[in-house]
Symmetry: C2
Subunit: 332 residues, 2 copies
């Protein structure tokens, strides 16, 4: 296993120790495994909590900060955070206006966030849940009933985070989060499998001339194997899947993310974005905003995902609102 | 070859097309291969131009913007930009106060930037050159007379860029750039080789249980092969090399970068940073500022580099000045 680590058992703790050392503006509790904004909850603001298995960095810890998440709960690699951990994060960010849980649709995450929401309710904290299920590749995959939650999580966290920062109520923030998810579609392609620290070997075998089309962010199987193709043809496969599920045309505005899965050079992501932009523009679709880079990764997997959100004016306004996190930062 | 590309021949052009589509705030000339800030040169401000072979993204194009570079000249992958290209960039950013060339110490880059500087001089543009040679691993390697230029390039571009934005003269900007380089040391370790689009196969063979210690950003050999070690021991090797070349102790402030070489997950970079921070703090050295992420890459190489800059107050002040580029962005 070719990784920079000390032991697989201490991996997550060691990562969080480094995160804490690098970012004094974050409060990182390496014991409870909770990342919050230093300075505690903001009175009267709806709190936003997300989390899930580690291995997708910068998701979610990299999105904690003003205008986005108030807390992230990293589980062990590809393993859901536990209810007590989520409950502790929920209590830590409650400013009296309720807390939104942003949950990627994987069975373990859904169950544990639901349990934490009930426990929080018992303690008088109102929780609303936004489920993210944007991956059009497959339904009911290895770890999921229904569609998997992937790249749209970044859009939901940014836009719902801006709504909360602007003073939105618990219902407002959850509603815009759900609307962003409903407007978003993703599709991913893997060129290699990823290796978890605990397993030490790649999660699947992929011949040197093949790609996994529709792969999940834990290396779950997609729609099948195909021979590796030129980038333009790969983008066509992904956009066909996305646009056949949600047709877009002239006059529609979108937010697009071309996201690396961990081991793909930034240059290749820009190359893919060029193909995406040409295709969408050719269909009359306007790319109003975009992200190109590593945002929702799968450890050391070579591959990329494309996420398209059909954005309305409110979403774009909230997208443009200031954000101050490790991985997204703009505005005054 | 597992890459997202159309053909090796069109690789750089296709990457630049995508970069242009993603970042309308940049002016990307895909024919001349020049990336500048949209809106042209700023009258009276010293211009900053850097460049080098492609394959190290986000270097240098990701650092074009207010407070950092005025232009980047990407060569073909691992190939120096040509003198005409550098000259065109120099002329494009000349605002009448002269232009600083920031050049990584590789034979081709040094020669071509020198020729461009002479041609610019013939046209009445004063050029000062800052040579970056921070890599303590080896002297006189495959592509280099003297030390290689690597991670410190980011520090030089940021701090010299801030000096230019603050109204520094050509001499001022070049002088602080040289001072940052002289105060910086880097060391890199590779876990895998990288593959260029043109070659299609990895640049060297590295057994499954070995690492290349002191590797260069083109896969040039380092100090030798060693068995893969725990992260703490790898950091000790790198910091020993850095600190034996430039001793640091109690009261010294540093800017530290833990940089991924392209295929290493962000989580592993944070883990390495935790080890770096513990060691430096243990020696009484203060980590005043830090960067953790992919800044100077080597295509799809798994590996990481550590750069330490012994910073004085002026450097820290200029580091903190606002910057608005694709890859670095902070301040008002």
């Amino acid at each position: 296993m070719k990784k920079f680590l000390n032991t697989p058992d201490t991996y997550l703790r060691d990562v969080l120790t480094g995160l804490a050392a690098a970012h004094p503006e974050l409060a990182v509790d390496a014991d409870q495994k909770i990342i919050t904004v230093a300075g505690g909850p903001q009175r009267g603001k709806v709190g936003l909590v997300s989390g899930g298995g580690s291995g997708h960095e910068p998701l979610h810890g990299g999105f904690v900060g003003a205008g986005m998440l108030d807390a992230a709960c990293p589980g062990e690699v590809f393993t859901s955070p536990v209810p007590d951990q989520i409950l502790a994060a929920t209590k830590a960010v409650d400013g009296g206006a309720g807390v939104v849980h942003i949950v990627k649709n994987y069975t373990g995450d859904v169950m544990n966030f639901q349990m934490a929401a009930e426990l929080a309710g018992d303690e008088g904290i109102a929780v609303a849940t936004v489920l993210v299920d944007d991956d059009v590749a497959v339904k009911d995959s290895t770890w999921t009933a229904g569609r998997r939650g992937t790249g749209a999580t970044v859009f939901v966290e940014k836009i719902a985070g801006a709504a909360a920062a602007a003073g939105g109520s618990l219902d407002d923030v959850a509603e815009i989060g759900r609307r962003v998810n409903a407007a978003s579609r993703s599709f991913a392609v893997a060129l290699t499998a990823c290796t978890t620290p605990a397993a030490g070997t790649p999660g699947f075998d992929l011949p040197a001339d093949e790609m996994e089309v529709g792969v999940g962010i834990h290396g779950e199987p997609g729609r099948g194997r195909e021979k590796l193709k030129p980038a333009g043809e790969i983008v066509a496969i992904a956009l066909d899947a996305i646009l056949s599920d949600q047709p877009l045309g002239t006059g529609d505005d979108v937010i697009v993310m071309v996201n690396g899965l961990g081991a793909t050079p930034l240059s290749e992501l820009y190359l893919l974005f060029g193909e995406v932009a040409a295709t969408l523009s050719g269909n009359g679709v306007g790319i109003a905003r975009s992200l190109v880079g590593n945002y929702v990764t799968s450890l050391d997997m070579a591959g990329a995902s494309i996420t398209v959100c059909h954005a309305d004016e409110e979403m774009l306004r909230l997208w443009d609102a200031p954000v101050r996190t490790v991985a997204l930062r703009w505005g005054s």
